[in-house]
Symmetry: D2
Subunit: 304 residues, 4 copies
């Protein structure tokens, strides 16, 4: 981040206003601060609407903030989460500014129930910033999972990959700059390629940025999928950073989300039946379970 | 509204908090106040996110509030509205508490890109509140428009309609109460019909209420259709009340909306061609326009 | 249904066409037939897109129908369902014509990711058709569940409720007709109230109808919530009728839905932990589980 | 396209089935055929639902295909389009298979109300196919429009750009292949980088592909924005190809879309007022119009 950008953020953080709106102190502390993710990325909260009490107010269609004890609110929030009553959680909203590599952005945008304004490479010039993985993140293709990772690459292979990623990024950006320039390297005038065309030379590890706004229900859905161990690491670190922020924003709702979604498990009808047989003392095997090998492995991951 | 409800609202209005968030003074003044609509309805703002500057910040994917002159913001907002760039307007959000007759609610809910929590008649008991039109609103079926209204009913016909509406509402509610009661009128115990069944006896002029949350782009779309002269009057009065609130919340965006949407017009390719012929001095008639009678009437409504 | 309407349906069923599109024989047999639901309602399939193979084709982004064995398709579909990969299921679509009471329609419409065209009571005149429950469906308010039902009403109480529902419906419709009429009962001319106003006198058990179009993923979501034992019976019977149709349309996807959703169960992190303790031989009670009474009751419903 | 892929397509085209569903002959002729777009891309129709008559049936909530004359259907469709009644158009649906450069895909995906399954570069290996513009498409940055194009590049500058695009694409793909390979160029075994990481080295002109399903209303919205002269050429050619297909699928709806949307124009309240003054014989200038220069230029584009 440039000193000018940091100064803009600091100036905004320094201003306070008086409001009648519901205010979440835990979230106020996070506002505007850019939390680093990966080598050049960040997430920061631009605005938010609502708190734990607002979820309960909406569920009750209340006239005021109410005088209910916090323990009542906690019970209601857990009930709503357990029974998939999603609409009260939709009554909270958050707006983020995120800087992220393009290949992460392409996964992220698959979550459609959100609002987004992305930095335009038709209109503007992208910065020379590329994601280059840490050596520990430079993982081999998994042997067991077609869309997963194995151990980190070692020695010369790792070095070679890093060199290619760095060199190809740099060369692509050099050419990007040279193509849009209105004079050549030797100083002669040239027309300069349209930005909307020149950007096509840039690889998917270049950083982009956007404003992204989403309601709490859909954010939880995003976090459940992207903070999961099967998500690609480069998006999971963004989800993890968001989990920490949401836990401070709506602590009761986040605790219910952790219990019922992040830490919970889904069982199939076959799984429920096996479970009952096991609790009745029966020795159940994959063969006698009626499940496929993959299902059985996932089922054992829950019960063991 | 009961005194208890008014007291809850007053208590909430009396509280202020300090926030780092963007704050719209025009909207703060409206917060929580219930603006009456129809005979028992209201709209009131529960929360909001963003202001005119937030629209521009999102469009620019900015790091701070920026130092742009307000005149720059106005030009950008008008440009975005004119060119149907909807995503920056989606970056503002508002949450409302609305009390409205069921037949209005059924039109309203057709706007799907919004979040809603409605008072549950499965869980709770509805109040004895029914919409009974003002005599001036008791309109005859239009002779020219199958889904429109003509002049107000007169004399005995109007009186008869009002009597029926009042009597049928009252009787339906008497029976609703008697059905769910756990003792009969003569004081004997009875089982009491389930609320989810008893509610089916209530007519569509009974009031319901909900929390409704929507982004500014989709709210503008709602207002364009529902503040229109072709909308049913009973939903238009809600749209009109919202227009006044939005004008104070995001004055630049609302002014652009008024100019380009509410007060603007759409022309077909045929309409554009006729227009050019007329500007060139030609006398164009419906016959020579290539338009149907309905299209021609609407076209003349624009140019005259 | 009138003989004219039945004749229209029969005429449409009698026509066949040649197509290159994927065709589901199980669904062709259902096309257009109106399956009765409640006393005057129905569901019927107007059109559909896709079949089990189409789900797999989309997941594989294939060039043709492929030569994969059906057993491969089944495994893939089960994998997709188990891992919440919803997008391939969105590649199937169904369009229905449904006739249903208004209070059921108001629950149904809460499922927003669908397309709907409802019969317009602003434009047209509604029919004299009201839902009057079977005596066995005339249930008392549940004593344990604020939004549930208990035993059926008995004797005079049941008779009284049925009389009120019938009489109030009839009277409301008589007045509806009289208000929109252009002559009075005694034959004198009158203006006739606008339809958009007169409809407000009609109770929520009147029937409406609509075309409703939805993708398979969102239909499964609808069925999971509405074919559930906690759903109101009057919408559950529609969900049940749809389950039978979907089972014939996409048998592999429906079987996976039954196993993983309808018949499956969700456990919280606490539930998973208790389960493991129980499988290890520990005697776990509500007190030692860390769950609330409600959670424990639901947990025991899964494991027992 | 490989001969195997073409054979799969041909095999699917050769099969016909009998169906009771509404069938659009104009669309049947297009089914499955891959229409080339850009140098390696294509669009092809995988499935469709509905036709012009289906739009009218939904608007009328009909029991059958009806016996209305086609001229009635045309009038109704034009009325619906003119008055922004979008829901009947949502009752038609189309599923496409599209091959397109990644930078085009990133614009395309901004249309959120659609279903998509993209070829996964986490799971699979991408092909060596890159978009290299025709010389005539190699445009300079526009001098007047920050997100537009000027004249084509000439001479050495054009040659240099094409060389860079080709060389950088090839090198990036060489390294992509070498990184995921399980042996080095000299034949020694290596671990092989995870596909989900290796893809980040590939530039935005590489081709991807997806299944994309959308309803007709949202497709029209896509076409209005993307077949527009301000859209980037590389997405406009896809929109143009789709326009030709849709014109054969729903000829009445497409004609209305052309008249009211593609060929039509929007006027602001200020524009309407100026128009009336001009028709009344007044000489209106930008200064006396109350419009900004940009607005005036666009307004003159309509009336002249």
């Amino acid at each position: 981040m440039t000193p000018e950008q940091q100064a803009e953020i600091d100036a905004q953080r320094a201003q306070t206003h008086t409001t009648r709106r519901a205010t979440a102190p835990g979230m106020e502390a996070h506002l505007y601060t850019a939390y680093p993710v990966l080598d050049h990325g960040f997430v920061r909260v631009i605005d938010y609407m609502g708190d734990d009490a607002a979820i309960c107010q909406a569920a009750r269609v209340s006239y005021g903030r109410g005088t209910k004890a916090v323990s009542n609110d906690e019970g209601l929030i857990r009930y709503l989460m357990r029974h998939w009553h999603s609409t009260p959680f939709e009554m909270c909203e958050v707006k983020l500014h995120v800087k992220l590599p393009v290949f992460v952005a392409r996964q992220w945008i698959r979550h459609r129930t959100a609002n987004v304004n992305e930095y335009s490479a038709r209109y503007s010039i992208l910065d020379r910033e590329f994601y280059i993985p840490e050596p520990s993140a430079l993982a081999a293709q998994s042997q067991v999972n077609n869309q997963g990772r194995g151990a980190a690459l070692e020695g010369q292979e790792a070095a070679r990959v890093l060199d290619w990623l760095r060199e190809d990024s740099d060369r692509a950006y050099d050419h990007y700059e040279a193509m849009i320039a209105t004079q050549t390297a030797s100083g002669n005038p040239q027309q300069g390629l349209a930005r909307e065309l020149a950007r096509m030379n840039l690889p998917a590890n270049i950083y982009t940025q956007w404003y992204w706004k989403v309601d709490l229900h859909n954010l939880f859905h995003f976090l459940r999928l992207r903070a999961d161990s099967h998500a690609q690491m480069e998006i999971r670190v963004y989800a993890d950073a968001l989990c920490r922020i949401v836990a401070d924003w709506v602590p009761l709702a986040y605790a219910a989300f952790e219990d019922y979604r992040l830490g919970g498990a889904s069982l199939s009808a076959k799984g429920v039946e096996c479970l009952r047989r096991m609790l009745a003392g029966e020795e159940v095997t994959q063969e006698s379970s009626g499940m496929s090998k993959g299902e059985w492995r996932e089922f054992m991951g829950v019960v063991e």
